[in-house]
């Protein structure tokens, strides 16, 4: 979904640049709280993983492909603020070194792929967990839902930006339908990769998944107490 230079006019690009800069500045402050001895060494690895998997375009039919965006995945693995920083690093490197996504469009790309997917992904992950049992195994299905929805929402935001500052006179309705349609399919791939990755890390070291920490606390308690039901009641009280 890397937006090239020229799709959006200058005022819109400046506005998304301001949004991106603000998001990065706030994230630099807030990420401190997330970066403990466990997540700090993983931050570079998560960014590198997102970069690598973004190279792996998968076909979604009719001569169209998609790739992982990774915002939801990064948010679940290292926390939302750190995820914004991870995604920004990936998009910067892609724009500067790989000519993937424009330069005046960097703010747009960071906003769509580095902020919108993180915010939507993290919010939906937390929301979905409320409806699932409080155990580490719930993280993967919640990650699936979060990732699935994050992609079409980012596509929707692009259409919104195009409505404001698109450089061509086109049918927005048609573009809206096509963008959301294709990105629901791409979202399924995003969801599969995200759930698989989160599930794999959970299986090996659940404590390394930032979003799963509250789930571990719950499980540890039931394991250690002889009467789990009493413990649960105790906890919620």
């Amino acid at each position: 979904m890397h937006v090239p230079d020229g799709f959006l006019d200058a005022p819109t690009s400046i506005a998304t640049g301001a949004v991106a800069a603000t998001a990065v500045a706030v994230s630099l402050r807030r990420a401190r709280r997330e970066l403990d001895d466990k997540t700090a060494p993983l931050t570079g690895l998560v960014a590198a993983f997102v970069f690598a998997v973004q190279m792996l375009n998968f076909p979604v039919g009719a001569g169209t492909s998609g790739h992982l965006l990774g915002g939801a995945l990064a948010a679940i693995l290292v926390g939302p603020w750190t995820a914004v920083l991870c995604m920004t690093v990936v998009l910067l490197v892609q724009g500067l070194f790989f000519a993937d996504g424009g330069i005046t469009a960097l703010g747009t790309n960071i906003t769509l792929m580095g902020v919108v997917t993180v915010v939507v992904g993290w919010a939906l992950f937390r929301l979905t967990l409320r409806f699932l049992p409080r155990r580490p195994a719930s993280a993967a299905p919640a990650a699936f839902v979060a990732a699935l929805v994050s992609v079409p929402v980012a596509a929707l935001c692009f259409v919104g930006l195009y409505a404001v500052g698109g450089t061509a006179d086109i049918s927005l309705k048609a573009v809206f339908a096509a963008m959301v349609g294709w990105h629901v399919l791409i979202g399924l791939g995003e969801a599969a990769i995200t759930a698989l990755t989160v599930g794999s890390v959970i299986a090996v070291r659940p404590d390394l998944v930032h979003g799963a920490r509250p789930l571990i606390a719950a499980r540890e308690l039931t394991v250690r107490k002889p009467r789990p039901l009493v413990t649960k009641g105790d906890r919620s009280a």
Binding site: M1, H2, P4, G6, F7, R32, R33, L35, D36, D37, K38, T39, A40, P41, L42, T43, G44, L45, A47, A48, F49, F51, A52, V53, M55, L56, N57, F58, P59, T64, S65, H67, T82, L85, L92, G95, L96, F97, F98, A99, D100, A155, T167, A168, I170, V175, A178, M179, W182, V201, V204, R205, D207, L208, R213, P214, I216, A217, E220, K225
Partner: protein
């Protein structure tokens, strides 16, 4: 956010498991090394088999007549432009080198950012005012939080 380390202390049964979880399963260093190998295999090997079809946005731009408004990136002459290396004619090798180089750059930058953010954290921890930046919006709570995190993460460091 209700992370384990945010909970009030004083209930040993709550804190003990948090320490234990750090030691369950392979060490963090092992995870990082295995993760890196996976990442290198994906960027340096699997990437060659990626679909070359236009992605969702490009496809929509083509179908709906705004693809032509795209401008070439100013960095199109970068040695890695288009996920290949100029001068390497073998497609597989070209993609592999570009992918591995990208992973190295992203890894270095990502790790650097994480370390820089943490280092600032430590400085705030000592109540320091070294560069005239007060950080006083939530200086006190974040310093307390950092101290609590350091304390809760301490057992992990001994690995």
């Amino acid at each position: 956010m209700s992370r384990p380390e945010d909970r009030p202390e004083g209930r040993p049964e709550d804190r003990a498991p948090a320490g234990e979880t750090g030691r369950r399963g392979p060490r963090t260093r092992v995870i990082v090394v295995v993760g890196l190998l996976v990442v290198l295999a994906l960027a340096g090997g699997v990437s060659y088999y990626a679909s070359a079809s236009p992605d969702g946005l490009n496809k929509v731009a083509e179908d709906h007549g705004f693809a032509s408004t795209a401008k070439d990136s100013p960095t199109r002459h970068s040695p890695f432009a288009g996920y290949g290396v100029r001068g390497i004619t073998d497609g597989r090798a070209s993609t592999a080198v570009a992918g591995v180089a990208g992973v190295a750059i992203v890894l270095a930058l990502g790790t650097g950012v994480a370390l820089a953010v943490r280092r600032r954290d430590r400085r705030g921890d000592h109540g320091g005012d070294h560069d005239g930046d007060h950080n006083d919006d939530h200086g006190a709570p974040s310093a307390t939080m950092a101290a609590a995190q350091d304390a809760s993460a301490a057992p992990d460091r001994r690995q």
